[in-house]
Amino acid sequence: MHDKTIAQISAGLAAGEFSSEELTRALLERVEQFNPQLNAFITITAGSALAQARAADRRRQQGEAVPLTGIPIAHKDIFCTDGIRTSCGSRMLDRFIAPYNATVVEKLNAAGTVMLGKTNMDEFAMGSSNETSFYGPVRNPWDLDAVPGGSSGGSAAAVAARLTPGATGTDTGGSIRQPAALCGITGLKPTYGRVSRWGMIAYASSLDQGGPMARTAEDCALLLGAMAGFDPRDSTCVDRAVPDYVAALNQPLAGLKIGLPKEYFGEGLDRQVAQAVEAAIAEYRKLGAEPVEISLPNSQLAIPAYYVVAPAECSSNLARFDGVRYGHRCENPKDLLDLYTRSRGEGFGAEVTRRILVGTFALSAGYYDAYYLKAQQIRRLISDDFRRAFEQVDVIMGPTSPTAAFNLGEKADDPITMYLSDIYTIAVNLAGLPGLSLPVGFAGQRPVGLQLIGNYFAEDRLLNVAHRYQQVTDWHERVPAGF
């Protein structure tokens, strides 16, 4: 039962083969069994999960079920959940019980999904390996010595290990796609503005976007259909109809123009990753698609621009964690400055502190023009690169990450090397485009992900392109040994 996809579970529930309660119990047992090894969950909500499952079963009996009713999922611990701890992977919010639901949670609740728990993540979504979490690192089910990627590493590992058929993630510079690639699952970062950010704890507001993580593109389509849509509580959310992503999955790919940016296949790309990606492109050729080389000339500027914009916004977004109203507060502050410095010093980990400091510097008087303004100009150049590319091609393809999963601790003390693992994903956030990662092979025993980049609001096309591939390959069906 635990090895089924969301689509299969949905069919099984509809056919009465099992109940949501039975399924939820089975998955909770697996979480209980495997979480000590993986550390994928920060909080397990067994009690409320079973209550939600029973409610979903009743709803089904009353004939009011929709495709996601009774489907167990997990939420990244960055989404506020009413009455349930929402830690954001930080000591700062270790005891924070959110008093409201994020829109994403609210929408998935309304569809009848069952929340198994809250997944581990890099602290405040800042990290590419899940090692910055206050709750300790998550391990990659394919190799327990390897990182799962980050920041949505808990969600990716839980899906890969069949602890949950789907999970939510957020992606600011690759935080859905890179862990999806490293754990061998499918993950989609939607167009900026497609999914509401209300109740999603902000890291870098102009880049953050929530999205689905699951084993297949079809499952991502089902989840995204429920997550997307206009929300008047988020001014950056776009008022645009949500298409039927599932209905669009089977369009043929004949004549599909695939752009292969030459900048994504150069220096720094692991040979085995390159081979797996090239094999996938060959498969697409068989499906009737036409790959062409393109150029995204400003690609090398993405990482420096990102590491100005994201820390700048984070330095401001995280100012609210001051120990005054909620969150960690130091013992016996002797005055206001002491309250601030000790509460924040104790509450935030090293990577978060580093980014706050970098961002504060970048916004300071005298540096703003040279850093923040310049970075915004680069964003425009990068967007223009993509705009020109999409005049020629329908989708862009390349590796999601330059290497497969690296070992725990391998890059933890070297932020620059760590930052480079997002070299192919970050430009997509800077441009606000949708991106998807799907499994296309292995480098040794560790999975390799292929990234698809689409034009604005072309999530349906990306899911379609990924789905057709998954119809003729079985990488997404591989199960890590021991799970």
Binding site: S205, D234, S235, V324, L363
Partner: protein, 478 residues
């Protein structure tokens, strides 16, 4: 040396919306601490601001009223600093691209001339909460009810040259925002307050001196006193060989002095940047035109019209147009009476305003409405009562004794215009004061007033004064 003062004001007008600028929480004043602060106002994790449309409409109305440029695209920025009553650690405020740009207004000076004051900009921002330093045993309490209240910050050019000009300008803007209905103007509750930038320079010097900023002045009197103190302080300082330092100062109304709050070197670097949670505010012509149609007749136009239409002096027109309510009351009185605009002006500016002040009432709940006042003035006009008796009738009307006619009847206040009756009184007075009569007839003309007084007294004020004058003149001659 002759010194010249240079002043610029930053006025904060709280916009009269029902809900806050970025949340749905109420803005009403004076409720229990922290009962009007929702998750957004508290800066909880994951919350987002959504701009209140009404705030934009009000800012545009203000911009149109001062003949300013309305920015078709303006941007909200974050002003970053840590303070316990600033929940998010930043204030959302317009910085580089404000909604209202380059306007002006004219103020009347004491010598009767008028002066144009430039308005650099007006921008939208959110207010912070309040820190309460009493009643918490050495700790501070935080009340976030005010956090997120919409403010329009109106920044003048450094065009003002004295404390009196600064006050005139502040009064002018106060009148304007209240006219526009975009601010309740309540200064005690902090709905209208200002920061004053003050510097001095040798007269004729084109360069500005170093300025001090006096924060948070919430009455016209404090503005005048604080600026006057500050001018004197700066001149004394320079004349005794010192230099003015750029700093923020606070006015202490009890001691009547300004004190240094923080110097330039302690000034925050606010690290402004565009708020990524809010898209740029883009206004189309339709929105601006809709705001334009909502503009009422503005104070200057109304004053001009009062002078032309009612033949009033500039002074009377100014006083009567000080508020929309007073102007409306005046016009309703003239309309009910069917003319006599000067008589109406005298009464509205005189007894009516005095009684309102005395009882601290608004026009809306005045016990004497414009129709009743007109009813009283009609009896002056047709000589049923004298102006003096009218004051007594007005007081009775104010006390709720009915309309003018009923009071005149009840109290028998009708003026005596019957010549024989008045002559009878005059005869009695002459008979009762033979000495004065003899002196008068011997040439002591100024005793005439004495006889008028006696006749009025004996008639209980009811004798028609003009007739009394004429008849006395005749009779005293003998």
């Amino acid at each position: 040396m002759k010194w010249e003062t240079v002043i610029g004001l930053e006025i904060h007008a709280q916009l009269a919306t029902k809900s806050k600028i970025f949340s749905g929480a109420s803005t009403s004043y004076g409720v229990e601490p922290n009962t009007q602060a929702c998750a957004i106002d508290l800066g909880m994790p994951g919350v987002l601001p959504v701009l209140n449309r009404d705030v934009v409409r009000m800012a545009v109305m203000f911009g149109l009223a001062i003949g300013a440029e309305i920015a078709r695209r303006s941007v909200f920025a974050r002003k970053n600093y840590f303070y316990p009553d600033l929940p998010k650690g930043y204030q959302i405020s317009q910085y580089e691209l404000p909604i209202v740009q380059k306007g002006q207004t004219a103020i009347d000076l004491e010598d009767g001339s008028s002066k144009v004051v430039g308005i650099t900009r007006a921008h939208l921002e959110e207010d912070a909460g309040k820190s309460l330093h009493e009643d918490f045993q050495g700790q501070s309490g935080i009340d976030l009810n005010r956090a997120g209240t919409p403010l329009l910050e109106i920044v003048s050019e450094p065009d003002l040259r004295s404390a009196k000009e600064a006050v005139a300008y502040m009064k002018k803007l106060h009148q304007l925002v209240v006219y526009l209905g975009i601010c309740d103007g309540n200064m005690q509750e902090g709905s209208f307050r200002c920061d004053a930038n003050v510097s001095v320079r040798p007269k004729g010097d084109p360069k500005f001196g170093t300025r001090a900023e006096i924060k948070n002045l919430n009455s016209f009197r404090f503005v005048e006193r604080a600026i006057e103190f500050e001018i004197e302080r700066q001149i004394d300082l320079i004349e005794s060989g010192g230099t003015v330092v750029q700093e923020t100062r606070l006015y202490d109304p009890d001691k009547g002095e300004t004190r240094s709050m923080r110097g330039k070197e302690e000034a925050n670097d606010y690290r402004y940047f565009p708020d990524p949670d809010l898209l740029p505010l883009v206004l189309d012509e339709a929105f601006i035109n809709a705001a334009r149609t909502e503009l009422p007749e503005l104070p200057d136009a109304k004053k001009q019209r009062f002078m032309e239409q009612y033949g009033l002096s500039g002074y009377d027109a100014s006083v009567l147009t000080v508020s929309r309510d007073l102007a409306g009351y005046y016009e309703a009185t003239v309309a009910a009476l069917g003319g006599e605009p000067k008589l109406c002006a005298n009464w509205v500016m005189g007894d009516f305003s005095a009684f309102l002040n005395k009882d601290n009432r608004d026009i809306a709940d005045s016990p004497v409405d414009s129709v009743r006042l007109a009813g009283l003035l009609r009896r002056i006009e047709d000589r049923t009562i004298s102006g003096k008796i009218a004051k007594e009738v007005f007081e009775a009307m104010w006390a709720g004794e009915g309309d003018a006619d009923a009071i005149i009847e009840k109290r028998s206040l009708r003026q005596i215009t019957d010549t024989s009756a008045i002559e009878k009184v005059i005869d009695d007075v002459m008979a009762g004061n033979p000495d004065q009569l003899a002196q008068y007839r011997a040439g002591k003309d100024k005793l005439f007033g004495f006889f008028v007084g006696q006749v009025m007294k004996l008639s209980k004020g009811k004798a028609n004064p003009q007739q009394v004058n004429e008849l006395l003149m005749e009779k005293l001659k003998g």
